[in-house]
């Protein structure tokens, strides 16, 4: 079981990217660098397979993930008919894992999109406006970051009981933007001091134009890295919640809830937890590798001389 440790939470929150490179990587240059990177390619391939499985789940899954069969087929070990075996109520584990990818990845992507949006807007506003507003926002973010994520999520969940998948996305997303906001705020505050920003103001550009044209494009690299890292993180958070029984409502099942369903049989039917666990670990690992290689490729040292 991938855990939701404070360390993994902190890894996302404390991520500080290198100072924006000069000149920034052009997409074409970036791709040229990454294409030669074997680790990156393998991670991307793994991700491709998993995302592909999620998208084409109805075509790939051998059975309906909710279909139940003759009770004699319950808890069968992996076989030609059921590659990942069957669960206590005779459902096909492979089909459940493939459909589980849909749930897990969708929640992660949507939650990241939400947290990046909120984090970027809040962080950019604070960093760009500066002054006491910035100080207020920065201290608030520090305060919010000091609350353990799991504690926050569990207390909210225990108030509302079972949440719909949509509400779950909103909850994970709205509690995940603090780190992003801090990251973006720092970047924007640094960019605001750059000469070309002053030059643009000196030539009469409005604040909004300065922000959109001269600050935001430089946020692409750090946000891209934060986004990939965030996807891995969100998958883990969601799996953790589902494992604890606060995740997606039945009959939907994410990897976390599949692992939860199989935990009582861990000693007799290892395939119930091993396969969804493997899917989870592989996905998060691949996402983190992609993120790491991206960050390396985006750092100035990796750029070929202009």
């Amino acid at each position: 079981m991938a855990d939701v440790t404070p360390a993994s939470v902190a890894a996302f929150a404390d991520y500080a990217p290198p100072v924006t490179s000069l000149p920034p990587a052009q997409p074409a240059t970036l791709w040229k660098t990454l294409r030669r990177d074997r680790t990156f390619r393998s991670a991307l391939a793994v991700l491709g397979v998993i995302v592909g499985a999620a998208i084409f789940a109805p075509l790939l899954a051998p059975y309906d993930p909710a279909a139940q069969f003759d009770l004699t087929t319950r808890l069968q070990a992996p076989s030609a008919a059921h590659w990942f075996g069957t669960d206590p109520v005779t459902r096909d584990v492979l089909s459940r894992v493939v459909f589980g990818a849909r749930i897990s990845l969708t929640i992660a992507f949507l939650a990241v999109a939400l947290s990046l949006t909120i984090g970027t807007v809040v962080g950019a506003a604070a960093g760009f406006v500066g002054g006491s507003f910035d100080a207020f926002v920065a201290r608030s973010i520090d305060a919010l970051l000091s609350i353990p994520r799991v504690l926050l999520l569990l207390s909210v969940l225990s108030l509302w009981g079972e949440l719909s998948t949509r509400a779950l996305v909103v909850l994970i997303g709205t509690t995940g933007w603090f780190g992003v906001a801090r990251l973006v705020r720092g970047e924007v505050a640094a960019l605001r001091q750059r000469d070309f920003v002053t030059a643009s103001r000196a030539l009469g550009a409005r604040g909004m134009r300065v922000l959109v044209r001269h600050v935001v494009p430089h946020l692409a690299s750090p946000i891209l890295v934060a986004a990939t890292l965030g996807v891995g993180h969100m998958i883990v958070v969601e799996a953790g919640l589902s494992f604890l029984g606060f995740g997606v409502p039945q009959p939907d099942a994410s990897w976390g809830s599949i692992i939860r369903d199989g935990r009582e049989f861990m000693q007799t039917a290892w395939w119930l937890t091993a396969f969804p666990g493997l899917a989870l670990v592989l996905t998060v690992l691949a996402v983190n590798v992609v993120s790491d290689r991206l960050r390396a490729a985006l750092s100035p040292r990796q750029l070929p001389a202009p």
Binding site: L22, P23, A199, A202, L203, G204, R213, P217
Partner: protein, 339 residues
């Protein structure tokens, strides 16, 4: 010189920054005028308040810095300090433009240079993208960039330092401002390129009839292009004179020190002299004359702050010695008064 046409009158400008070590009074009661069409040099070493003065004129001082009450910046009939944000934005780039020191960092690396010149046009006019681009290319041509239509599509890192500085000049001048503030425009460039850029600035200045506030620590640059010079030290104006006057009869010991520290062709064999000591901290300017600790000629009156004494002929200096010589030798032929 009664028909002097004052373009910008800086009056008692005080700009300070709040720091953890106290308030740094970067610009401390600075007053001067710039006439339409003239080139005024502002000289001084790093940290003397030159750049803070320039940024103050455009109201680009960000917190923790602020322009203190009582300061006035009269320009084209308004006090720039009383304009609202939108009005000062209209002034920036259109009536007063600025060229920055570092051509490497003052251009945005993610846009083409043509785009960045065109942006200034689009900020201030309702020109379409195409019209703005055409004006940008014409301006790049005007500042001497070869093949402007092609170079306009280059990114800053694809151009040399000299060309980048030309791009910055194009950005500043594309709206034909009445006043150009050039902050160390040649400092980051090779000597040969420096001369070209100065020549270009002079040429454009004559052609457009604009005034230039040329900030530099290089007296050679001032001698070459400026008509009038202001010497700044420790946040104050210490001497102001016509360029001939300043080089032939500097009246402030600091100015003399700067001149002695300047290499000259005719004195090639001589060792250059330096000014002993360092500039005092702006959070704690010394009482009295701020140059006293570094001045070989300091005497008792220097414990009090000297005024900027008017020496006639537009020559002013912040030094008590000017008063002593005037008293002991009242008939000393100062510059013939042109008033």
């Amino acid at each position: 010189m009664n028909e002097r046409n004052t373009l910008l009158a800086v009056e008692n400008l005080r700009t300070s920054y709040r720091t953890t070590h106290g308030t740094a009074r970067a610009v401390d009661n600075v007053s001067f005028n710039i006439d339409a069409g003239e080139i005024l040099g502002i000289v001084g070493e790093s940290g003397c308040g030159k750049t803070a003065t320039a940024l103050s004129v455009l109201r680009l001082i960000d917190p923790p810095g602020r322009i203190e009450a009582g300061s006035h910046l009269w320009f084209e009939g308004h006090d720039l300090l009383t304009l609202d944000e939108e009005a000062i934005r209209q002034v920036r780039g259109r009536r007063i433009a600025m060229v920055f020191q570092e051509p490497m960092t003052a251009l945005n690396p993610v846009f083409t240079v043509g785009d960045q010149v065109a942006e200034v046009v689009r900020v201030h006019t309702s020109a379409t993208r195409r019209e703005a681009w055409a004006r940008a290319v014409a301006m790049l041509d005007r500042v001497g960039i070869p093949e402007p239509a092609i170079r306009a599509r280059s990114y800053p890192h694809q151009l040399s330092g000299g060309l980048r500085q030309r791009v910055l000049i194009a950005m500043a001048l594309v709206m034909r401002p009445a006043l150009l503030i050039a902050d160390e425009p040649t400092t980051a460039l090779d000597v040969t390129i420096q001369a070209q850029i100065l020549e270009l600035l002079q040429e454009l200045q004559r052609e457009m009839g604009m005034a230039v506030m040329l900030i530099t620590h290089d007296l050679g640059v001032v001698a070459e292009v400026a008509q009038r010079v202001i010497v700044m030290y420790a946040g104050q104006v210490v001497e102001e004179a016509g360029v001939q006057d300043l080089f032939s009869s500097p009246r402030h010991p600091y100015t003399r020190g700067l001149l002695r520290a300047m290499p000259r062709a005719r004195r090639a064999a001589e060792r250059l002299q330096t000014i002993p000591g360092t500039v005092p901290s702006p959070t704690a300017w010394p009482a009295g004359c701020r140059f006293r600790d570094r001045c070989a000629d300091a005497f008792e009156p220097c414990g009090n702050p000297p005024d900027l004494f008017d020496l006639g002929g537009g020559h002013r200096a912040r030094c008590f010695l000017t008063q002593v010589t005037a008293a002991t030798a009242p008939t000393e032929p100062s510059m013939p008064s042109r008033i």
